[in-house]
């Protein structure tokens, strides 16, 4: 039990409320409060990672919370990712005051941003899937407000898709969770791993896939990525950075939990994740190359980088006990991508808050002679392209190595490795595509001249960034080369900290990051990238209009998966139409004359028929078959009283017959008569008691008629 863990989660949530209340009185006060709070959170996270470096594992349990209880644990990986999240929030927090200077609804933004921070910390600290899911759902809903923040039609549409995917994903995950819980009786990560070892994997594929669905949707895995290229660009830039940098990683966290616990060293699962990862990686890069919008390019690039991470996850499962490189590569690429996207999206934010435009043709040339922006963007671009000495190179090399390792492993066993060699090539080519679209952005922003507004842009050299924003931008940018240039100190340290979570083995020997093989791999990518830029982007994705070369969007609009599958006419008209028609029919049915007139009429007719039938059968039988037959008639048996009374009456009658009634004697046998009467009386009484039910029914009918009369 350690107070640090709940503090990391609930401090921002509490701060959200306070910031909202302060914000209603004073805007600068709120901004200051938010910055201080985020710094405090970051310091707490540093404290957490300090504990992790010392090798202590902290846990916190809140029994009975929402049913199954909350379970937090702070190990190396969790401490690391909490720190990354807190750091990114802090940096975007420093950047926000300037960015949002002219925005409306800032209170709402800060409130939900802080709530999301708490929820994200909750996801990363969770020790069972139930806790993960709780905070994951909170995070999905609170981050909705980011996407919808601008409230333009485009933003609302993107937000709708975002929420739709989040809700559906959440439900599917819940279903998977619940199947797992039913099978295993526990959702703790440790128990998942045990189950993966002991149970038959076939039983776990369905629940595992369902659980992964929701998380993969948040991570932006193909084909659940449709929301990502729409939602990330429309959010305000600081929020885009967080969406791309951290929230996708929360999705990856869920993928890791399933892949590294439930399906640890499971090759079949690894192949599926690998295939999806390759599709995501390549598809994202392709979309990014075609995009002509600064933030959309970055968003598609995020999708592509998530694909790289998924490739790493798939390789971990495939490599089994040799997974050291894959684990380190995955982990480092997650961290690198978060930090790089922080830097790039803030740079994009710096452009947007000055120009309120994102189209490459409108913003080209804005970055000329703006040194801070130039440095920040360049660092990010070099990092993400995998240029040696920047951080992206390290993690991409490790991932690349892990694929090569598996290919070799297969060759040693004498198996065909064609698929994995192809994967390796796609990996290298996608690396090249990354470089090419970053070149496109970089040249457009910083070297080409804007035909219409270049002088105006040059005039904005001073004051386009406030000091606090400069601090945030440069702080985020300069980490990247620092990490890339001192890999054996920083990167190895980070990797060792986090590999326990993914059950990674330690590498057999220290990794040589700058080995000849790795440098050649990087060089291949860079050459391919440069060739793509010169050979594809410049000739085919630009055209001459009115004497100037402009960027054109050649991506066919009909290729939008969302439009094909979800928002197509087919779905809207036929599927929704059918559902509406059926439900309307049923509704009308229940309220229609059918139920009021026809059904009662039919019931009445049937019951009457049955009634008549019984009667007529009885009449018929008594008239025909049963008429002749004398049923053996048992004389009713009376009691002692009727016997004596009857005997007495008979005596009286005999006496009377002899005396008074000599002319008309009585022939009744009173003993018999009394017996019969007594029997009949008994029957009548029984009938009366039995018909109380009838009376009650009559009463309710009477009440009904009375009320109807009163109300009419």
């Amino acid at each position: 039990m350690h107070i640090l863990l709940p503090a990391l989660v609930f401090l921002p949530m509490l701060g959200a409320l306070i910031s909202y209340l302060i914000g209603r009185k004073s805007k600068p006060g709120r901004n200051a409060f938010v910055c201080v709070l985020l710094t405090a959170e970051c310091l707490l996270a540093v404290l957490g990672i300090y504990q992790a470096i010392l090798g202590r594992e902290l846990t916190f349990t809140w029994e009975g919370f929402a049913g199954l209880g909350l379970h937090f644990r702070l190990d190396g990986f969790r401490a690391l990712y909490t720190l990354v999240a807190a750091f990114m929030w802090m940096m975007t927090g420093f950047f926000s005051p300037q960015y949002f200077a002219h925005y409306h609804n800032r209170n709402r933004y800060y409130f939900f941003t802080l709530m999301t921070l708490g929820a994200t910390a909750g996801v990363f600290l969770s020790d069972d899937l139930y806790t993960t899911f709780i905070f994951f759902e909170i995070m999905s809903f609170t981050s909705y407000t980011w996407v919808a923040h601008e409230e333009t039609p485009g933003a609302m549409r993107a937000a709708e898709t975002y929420l739709g995917i989040a809700v559906v994903g959440g439900m599917v995950t819940l279903m998977g969770l619940f199947m797992l819980w039913h099978k295993l009786g526990s959702l703790a990560f440790a128990d998942l791993q045990k189950a993966g070892e002991t149970l038959d994997a076939k039983e776990l594929y369905l629940p595992g896939a369902l659980v992964m669905f929701g998380f993969a949707a948040k991570a932006g895995m193909f084909p659940l990525h449709i929301w990502l290229p729409k939602a990330h660009p429309v959010a305000p830039a600081p929020a885009s950075a967080l969406l791309s940098g951290v929230l996708t990683k929360a999705g990856i966290f869920g993928v890791l939990v399933t892949s590294c616990n439930l399906f640890l060293h499971n090759g079949a699962w690894g192949n599926v994740v690998l295939a999806l990862g390759v599709a995501t990686m390549f598809g994202g890069a392709l979309l990014a190359m075609f995009s002509v919008d600064l933030k959309r390019t970055l968003a598609c690039s995020s999708m592509s980088q998530i694909g790289f991470i998924l490739v790493g996850v798939g390789m971990q499962c495939l490599l089994g006990h040799h997974n050291a490189l894959a684990v380190q590569g995955t982990l480092l690429h997650m961290v690198n991508h978060s930090l790089i996207k922080l830097c790039l999206f803030m740079a994009a934010g710096a452009v947007y808050m000055n120009l309120h435009k994102l189209d490459l043709n409108d913003i080209r040339g804005f970055g000329r002679n703006k040194i801070v922006l130039h440095i920040a963007f360049l660092m990010g671009a070099l990092g993400i392209s995998g240029v040696p000495l920047w951080n992206g190179y390290i993690s991409k090399s490790l991932l690349h190595e892990s694929i090569l390792e598996y290919v070799e492993l297969l060759h040693e066993q004498g198996l065909s490795a064609a698929w994995y060699s192809a994967t390796e090539w796609i990996f290298v080519i996608t690396g090249g595509m990354t470089f090419s679209y970053m070149l496109k952005l970089y040249f457009a922003l910083f070297w080409e001249k804007n035909a219409a507004r270049q002088e105006e842009f040059d005039g904005m050299r001073k004051g386009y960034l406030r000091p606090l924003s400069i601090f945030a931008l440069l702080g985020a940018a300069l980490i990247l080369p620092a990490l890339g240039m001192l890999p054996s100190i920083l990167m190895t340290g980070i990797a060792e900290l986090g590999q326990g979570f993914m059950h990674g083995e330690s590498p057999a020997h220290a990794v040589a990051y700058f080995s000849e093989e790795n440098l050649i791999g990087a060089a291949k990518s860079l050459v391919i990238g440069a060739a793509l830029y010169l050979g594809v982007i410049r000739p085919f994705l630009m055209e001459k209009r009115e004497g100037a070369r402009v960027y054109v969007n050649r991506w066919p609009a009909w290729l939008d998966l969302e439009n094909i599958f979800i928002r197509s006419d087919f779905t809207q008209k036929y599927v929704c139409g059918c559902i509406t028609a059926v439900s309307r029919f049923l509704d009308n049915l229940a309220t229609s004359k059918f139920f009021y007139v026809i059904v009662p009429a039919i019931i009445t007719a049937v019951t009457r028929c049955l009634d008549e039938l019984m009667d007529s059968v009885a009449v018929l039988l008594s008239g025909t078959v049963l008429s002749k037959k004398k049923t053996p008639h048992l004389p009713p048996v009376g009691t002692r009283v009727t016997y004596y009374l009857g005997c007495a009456l008979n005596a009286v009658a005999r006496f009377l017959n002899r005396t008074v009634l000599r002319r008309h004697p009585l022939h009744t046998d009173f003993e018999y008569r009394l017996d019969v009467d007594k029997h009949e009386a008994g029957q009548t009484l029984g009938m009366l008691t039995r018909s109380v039910s009838f009376g009650l029914l009559l009463m309710s009918v009477g009440l009904f008629i009375t009320c109807w009369y009163l109300l009419k």
């Binding site: 049913g67 937000a159 809700v167 559902i579 509704d587």
Partner: protein, 489 residues
């Protein structure tokens, strides 16, 4: 024993006296009604905590048909639930009813329904339950038709028609059980006598009939249509009666019928269970789909009630202790969430006169407090953890999965589909309230805050706290309810 009698008599006498008293002002009547309700709730709360074991015999008509009241575990849940809601609802009603007339009659029937609902919750045998069930129909009818215009009278007539025919079906069940059961008393696990084993088909047919009969009040398909229509009633009625008291009374009666009369073991796995479970599962999806289609705010919530009541019935028809736990959890949490949603709809109606969902664009700024509450309750109803709705859905899902049979899968599928539809029909309101501009025709509303006064806000705050608290203390709540379902309390 005296406590049970007092609990029932307080609202009964209080309600009957109301038309005879002459109040000098609205305020005086408000205090009188609130005092009666609070007194009753205090007595009911005392009952729940002490839960005396002795029974109160009111009248014996003949051998099995006796009016007996008793407080057992399930009664404690339902009694506690309504005792919690009634004073809050009454408080809310004072402000709401200011714009309606004939308040004397309204509050008289309102208090009488309290007595009838308490009677249902404390009934110790099926006959008593049936009698109070009919009383509830009659006591709530004038409330539905309170406005006395064509629509409300039509709605009232339909309500009566449905309820009485349902009760007639249920009556068949009472009669059959009086013959095949060892008495009509409620015993967990049921007790059928030796004759039952020779008349299985008859008993199952009658079970389906009486289940459908009782579930009319819980608005199960196909006899649900009275509920959306009844949303013409004043909001305190739709909120309290048509989201909590009346509809839950229907679900409660079904629970009694399944677990305390026939016994879950007798029915589990038979075609009779299949029929009622499929009806419930269908209603879940159907109600949500209709709610998505409906544009009238209160009717949309009414359809949502149709769907959610069938969540409870689904739990009931799973016929396991876990299913019953889930049903009870959802009974409590749905009550909390739905009454809040209806209150918000009512507040919007009273303060701005808007009835349709598309007119609520931008209302997040017009009524910030109301819509904050609405958002919380919506999220809870969708089942976002850690609010109470998630807890109940989780319990239901677990129960459905534990059965391991085909009908469990049907239930799970219905719950998941409905959860998605719930998100659509509630979030669309929330989103348009916060992220869309105000309707230009209603621009004059945007100038001031239209939130209601403290009388409406107090119920909001109290119930919201309850929603959060129930979610956070999920394990304790589940454990207590599951003890009840297993007969330990």
């Amino acid at each position: 024993m005296i406590l049970i009698a007092l609990t029932l008599l307080a609202p009964l006498l209080g309600g009957l006296l109301l038309p005879l008293l002459r109040f000098r002002s609205r305020k005086a009547r408000a205090w009188y009604v609130e005092a009666v309700t609070l007194l009753t709730s205090a007595l009911a709360a005392a009952l729940c905590f002490t839960h005396p074991t002795e029974e109160l015999h009111i009248i014996r008509i003949m051998t099995p048909f006796e009016l007996v009241l008793r407080v057992d575990g399930l009664s404690r849940v339902f009694t506690g639930l309504i005792a919690f809601f009634w004073p809050l609802a009454t408080l809310y009603a004072f402000e709401y009813m200011a714009h309606e007339n004939r308040e004397n009659a309204f509050f008289a029937y309102y208090t009488l329904s309290y007595a009838a609902t308490l009677g249902i919750s404390m009934a110790a045998n099926l006959f008593s339950l049936y009698v109070f069930y009919e009383c509830l129909t009659l006591a709530t009818l004038p409330l539905v038709s309170h406005k006395r215009d064509v629509r409300s009278i039509h709605a009232g007539r339909r309500y009566l028609f449905y309820s009485l025919s349902g009760a007639a079906l249920a009556f068949v069940g009472v009669m059959v059980l009086s013959r095949f059961g060892a008495g009509l008393d409620f015993v967990l696990g049921g007790k059928l006598n030796g004759l039952a084993s020779r008349n299985l088909t008859l008993l199952r047919v009658v079970f389906v009939l009486s289940f459908v009969g009782f579930s009319v009040k819980a608005a199960m398909f196909p006899l649900y249509a009275w509920l959306p229509m009844a949303s013409v009633a004043p909001t305190p009625v739709t909120a309290l009666l048509h989201a909590v008291a009346v509809v839950n009374a229907g679900a409660y009666a079904c629970m009694r019928l399944v677990y305390y009369c026939y016994g879950a073991d007798f029915l589990r796995g038979t075609w009779a269970q299949g029929i009622v479970l499929c009806l419930a599962a269908f209603t879940i999806v159907f109600g949500s789909a209709m709610a998505v289609r409906e544009q009238h705010f209160k009717r949309r919530l009414a359809y949502s009630t149709v769907s959610n009541l069938s969540y409870i019935l689904l739990g009931v028809t799973l016929m396991t202790p876990a299913g019953m736990t889930g049903a009870m959890t959802h009974m409590v949490s749905h009550g909390l969430m739905k009454i809040t949603l209806f209150y918000c709809a009512g507040a919007v109606l009273v303060k701005t006169g808007q009835e349709y969902v598309q007119d609520l664009r931008g209302f997040g700024k017009v009524m910030p407090f109301t819509f904050a509450v609405f958002t919380l309750a919506s999220l809870a109803l969708i089942g976002v953890p850690p609010l109470s709705g998630f807890l109940s859905k989780w319990n239901l899902l677990t129960a459905a999965a534990e059965t391991g049979a085909w009908y469990g899968t049907v239930g799970i599928a219905a719950l998941i589909v409905s959860a998605i539809l719930t998100a659509i029909y509630l979030m669309s309101v929330v989103i348009s309230a916060y992220f869309r501009p105000l309707n230009p025709e209603l621009a004059s509303l945007g100038e001031a805050n239209h939130d209601p006064t403290w009388r409406m806000k107090v119920p909001f705050v109290v119930i919201c706290c309850a929603i959060v608290a129930m979610g956070l203390n999920g394990a304790a709540v589940t454990a207590w309810l599951s003890d009840i379902a297993n007969g330990l309390i």
